[in-house]
Amino acid sequence: MERVNKNMASVAAALDCDTQLMIRVKQGDGASFGVLLEKHRSPVIHFLYRMVQNQAVAEELAQEVFLRVYRSRGTYEPTAKFTTWLFRIATHLALNTLRDGKNQRMETRLDADVLEAPVRQVCDGRPSVEQSMVREARLDEVRRAVAGLPDKQRAAVLMHKYEDMEYTQIARVLNCSESAVKSLLFRAYETLRNRLAHMA
């Protein structure tokens, strides 16, 4: 049964458009790498940013992710979905960075993040200073609540919420069982519900 599942995963991977592009990259087609980069650049950086909560570190890690993809092109085998492989690399790097505390170097940027946020164009009735401060305080609470989750729970929540990944795919990225992913997510969301309940 397990063998059948693996074969099905291989077939699904073969049908995956990104996988086809990666096979072309393997054959020396640089343009296909550009297409993959264009498609996955933002999701990878955003995921890494929410993991390490530091834009400079997130971009540096994303560079490493795509470099690793490029380096591995020669030995690439489509055994899983391309995004599973991509996010496995990204998660691995993010977890290592969190473990080593490299993201702490610029911890103040957690608060300075406000300056980096996209500027919102408002036609009229711009939010008052007070409203902006309330909004930023709430966002800060969200960031801190997510940052307070254990690393693997955080990764699972971010992939589930922002990347819209199924339990099976998250399980493959985190190299654990589907039931373990469910458990991670339930515990993480329970913590977030408790911490953010007052925001209702």
Binding site: R41, Q55, E59, Q63, R193
Partner: protein, 157 residues
């Protein structure tokens, strides 16, 4: 419908909160929510979490991200030795072999037989104690007395 919390199927409630549950199941769950306060509380709390997470915007990506990446990719062939070295160092047996060499080296140093102490005449002179000098003078005096007595005995004969 069985209570999702009681049967450990919170994934059903998560999917419903995120509006990802298929219609027939969503309708059944809504009917259950009317009578189950625990599930209602779960769904309301989870919707608050979704809304809070939705509001978390990310900063824009730096404009030169691709440029930096392509420059690093161009440098890749020049770093082949670096990758080789890295892979060599990361070979599973290598740290074990290095540790074994270290243990052998430490063992050899500790097991080395002690070399015989070399004679140090100058230190002997420097280390003479006053009693030793006194004894030496006594010996010399005794020898001199002995010689004199011997001569006297010889003259008498």
């Amino acid at each position: 419908m069985m209570c999702p919390i009681e049967i450990g199927e919170q994934s059903e409630l998560l999917a419903y909160s995120g509006r990802k549950l298929e219609l027939s199941r969503a309708v059944a769950l809504e009917r259950h929510l009317e009578s189950c306060s625990a599930c209602r509380e779960f769904v309301e709390g989870q919707r608050t979490v979704w809304q809070a997470l939705d509001a978390w915007q990310t900063p824009p990506v730096a404009g030169d991200f691709d440029g930096r990446l392509f420059r690093r990719m161009e440098q890749e062939p020049a770093e082949w030795w670096n990758r080789w070295l890295r892979s060599a160092l990361l070979r599973p047996g290598l740290p074990l072999a290095a540790a074994a060499c270290l243990v052998v080296a430490v063992g050899l140093i500790l097991e080395r037989p002690d070399a015989p102490p070399e004679p140090q005449p100058t230190s002997q002179v420097q280390n003479l104690q006053p009693e030793q000098v006194e004894n030496a003078f006594d010996d010399m005096k005794m020898l001199s007395d002995f010689t004199r007595a011997a001569r006297t005995d010889a003259g008498e004969l």
